[in-house]
């Protein structure tokens, strides 16, 4: 039974990465109608950005938590302005293909210079060590990841669903022409939203750097699972993707305990089941 608690907690930790990443995807899909396949590559760029900040500029983990998402977010906004913008109004498939191609290029460039095994990034001193919870040894850093990402997720949800800015944003998705008539700069808002989604991915990248190796393919391995999370939660649903992210982390954790061989596939089995029963996802709206 003790072991089970430990697995639940570990699942929650992984779930927080799923939640952060799927949240970014949901924001981008909900507001821009783009299926952002470059999300994994941008997550990886966040981790690399933290690595560069530390090893070239001597800037540590805490500033990196803010700087890396901003830097990568700006990179994302440039992508949006120069490429994605031209695809608005076209079929989803175009955005998907473009971002997928971008992901391959970005990963290829990083792999060319840094190889595939990755680079080390140490846990910041303040969060080193762990505590004994009785049923398990919890590394403090992992506890921090869960709490911090939960806060970020809820803040993002609040921003989009409960503030005036979020209301404008949602209105702009529904009817851009009308929102423009109120004197709101819709293209700029869209660009900033994409930057926000990308920034969330980069933030997840910085958070994961001390846990995983900083590897060019770290995002490619994760992005497929995260897409499954988004599909299960319902494309574009903010709260849906947060809850599904955490829940699937836990389910995956339990699978690793009861039947480890299936831990890579359990998410997809669930996805198939959900699609069969409720094609719009657990919390999705049918449009």
């Amino acid at each position: 039974m003790q072991a089970l608690y430990a697995q639940l907690l570990v699942g929650l930790i992984n779930g927080s990465f799923y939640a952060l990443l799927s949240l970014g995807l949901a924001v981008i899909f909900g507001m821009l109608n783009i299926i952002n396949f470059a999300h994994g590559a941008l997550y990886m760029m966040g981790a690399f950005c933290a690595y560069f900040l530390l090893n070239i500029a001597g800037i540590g983990y805490w500033p990196a938590l803010i700087v890396a998402p901003i830097v990568v977010g700006i990179f994302g906004m440039i992508l949006e302005r120069t490429m994605l913008k031209w695809l608005s109004g076209l079929d989803h498939l175009y955005g998907l293909l473009l971002t997928f191609g971008l992901a391959l290029i970005i990963q290829g460039v990083f792999q060319n210079y840094f190889g595939s095994s990755g680079l080390p990034y140490a846990i910041p001193d303040e969060l080193k060590g762990g505590m004994n919870l009785g049923f398990m040894f919890l590394p403090i850093y992992r506890g921090w990841v869960v709490i911090f990402s939960l806060i970020v997720c809820l803040l993002t949800w609040y921003l989009i669903e409960r503030t005036r800015l979020g209301a404008n944003l949602r209105a702009a998705t529904e009817n851009p022409t009308l929102v423009r008539a109120f004197g709101i700069n819709v293209p700029r808002m869209i660009t900033l939203t994409y930057g926000l989604g990308v920034g969330l991915a980069a933030l997840a990248g910085v958070l994961s750097a001390p846990i995983n190796q900083v590897r060019p393919l770290m995002g490619a391995d994760l992005i497929i699972v995260v897409f499954a999370v988004v599909v299960i939660g319902g494309m574009g649903s903010i709260m849906g993707s947060i809850i599904t992210g955490f829940a699937l982390g836990v389910i995956e954790g339990l699978t690793k305990y009861f039947y480890p061989e299936a831990s890579n596939t359990v998410v997809f089995v669930l996805m198939v089941l959900v699609l069969l029963v409720k094609p719009s996802g657990l919390t999705g709206r049918t449009t």
Binding site: V10, N112, S117, P260
Partner: protein
């Protein structure tokens, strides 16, 4: 009548002789470097193996002697079906003579069967499974660098004899992991240790915390990592995080490459003991090779033992072809010649190839240095013990290779 038959026989003999010289004058070779070019094994094999093959061609001086040698490379993506398809196309369309590297035991076993069917040559360096020269051996395959027996008897025995008498395995769920766990289990048991359990994880896993918690709960003295590449580095890094080593359990990284140590950093990797058959900083020849290799590598990495194996196995292959006077494009014949000639190269020293296709040479038990002991970049290993050739590989009388039962 008699003279006629004699003339006929003479004619046939002459035409055979003519055919033989025609073969002998064929001085073309096509090499296929098949590897994981972009996944978790790409740094230990991948583009570095293609480079090692190029260096072997240049250093052999074969081109100056009138040989024409081409190298092509391919990505098997760690999937046996893709690996076999690439290899099949290489044999059927591109007329490849020899396939080198092929990390990932699952792919290597599948490719080995195909190479036998096509009567090509397979010089495996990257894969670990000892089955390649045991139950699944073929007259066309030579397994060059190391195998799971070497790792088990190097690291496994050393740790078991050093007091690590209870083990728990974290095993990559495919051919290599299974072979490594099996070989290590027998080595540990032979040294008086016992196995408390294990867990199989999917290949290319990012998060090991669930598995590590199970290993921690087992209270085993040693946690054996029967995995490789990115899986091993992630296990080691996360084991440190969960306080496994500071809690008194010891990690046995059964297969660790220099690129893995580089990726982990000495602060995390220090103190790990493991077995390899090549280290770049071992002697003047290996240093000279490593320096040339590093300069040409895009990510400026040092050669792993897999890269060294690709290089020296190809040099020996060229030696056999020269002895044959040309390329007969007959894999079994070339491999037989390679087994007949003693091996001697700058990276692995003097050695030989057993009838089952196993190249044998000494192996080394290394320990990762502390950060304070490392004098320069890539100065990572400390030699603990040399494992003599006869202990490093499966003894011939214990090999289950069908080729030996003649």
């Amino acid at each position: 009548m008699k003279t006629r038959i004699a003339a006929l026989l003479l004619g046939t003999a002459l035409s055979f002789a003519a055919a033989n010289t025609a073969f002998a004058q064929d001085k073309t070779i096509k090499i296929g470097a098949l590897s994981d070019q972009s996944g978790l094994y790409a740094d230990l094999g991948g583009p570095g193996s293609t480079l090692a093959a190029q260096m072997a061609v240049e250093d052999s001086g074969m081109v100056a002697k009138g040989w024409k040698i081409d190298i092509i490379s391919g990505d098997h993506q760690n999937k046996p079906d893709i690996g076999v398809n690439v290899a099949r196309q290489w044999f059927d369309v591109d007329k490849v003579d020899v396939i080198v590297d092929v990390p990932n035991s699952g792919v290597a076993l599948a490719v080995s069967n195909l190479v036998k069917e096509k009567n090509g040559v397979f010089l495996d360096s990257g894969a670990g499974t000892s089955d390649l020269t045991n139950a699944q051996c073929t007259p066309n395959t030579i397994h060059w660098t190391y195998d799971t027996y070497t790792l088990a008897h190097g690291t496994g025995s050393a740790l078991a004899k050093g007091g690590g008498d209870s083990w728990f395995f974290l095993t990559a769920d495919y051919a290599f992991g299974a072979a490594l766990e099996r070989d290590t289990t027998s080595a540990v048991q032979a040294a008086g240790g016992k196995i408390l359990g294990g867990v199989k994880h999917p290949l290319n896993t990012a998060d090991f915390s669930s598995f590590l918690l199970q290993a921690q709960a087992s209270k085993a003295k040693v946690i054996g990592l029967a995995n490789a590449g990115g899986d091993t580095t992630n296990s080691i890094k996360q084991a440190a995080e969960f306080g496994i080593v500071s809690g008194g359990q010891k990690l046995a990284a059964l297969l660790l490459f220099i690129t893995d140590v580089h990726s982990l950093g000495l602060a995390t990797a220090q103190g790990l003991s493991f077995t390899e058959t090549f280290y770049w900083d071992a002697n003047d020849q290996s240093r000279a090779f490593a320096k040339r290799f590093q300069e040409r590598m895009k990510n400026k990495g040092m050669p792993t033992m897999v890269h060294a194996g690709v290089y020296s196995s190809l040099l020996h292959y060229f030696k056999a072809l020269e002895a044959l006077g040309g390329n007969p494009h007959d894999g079994a014949k070339i491999v037989a010649k390679m087994k007949e000639l003693p091996t001697d190269d700058q990276l692995f020293g003097k050695g030989s190839i057993q009838p089952n296709g196993r190249k044998i040479h000494p192996a080394y038990l290394f320990e990762v240095k502390k950060p304070s002991e490392s004098k320069m970049p890539w100065d990572y290993y400390k030699l603990v013990a040399t494992i003599p050739t006869e202990e490093a590989f499966t003894p011939l009388d214990k090999s289950t290779c069908p080729l030996l039962k003649k």
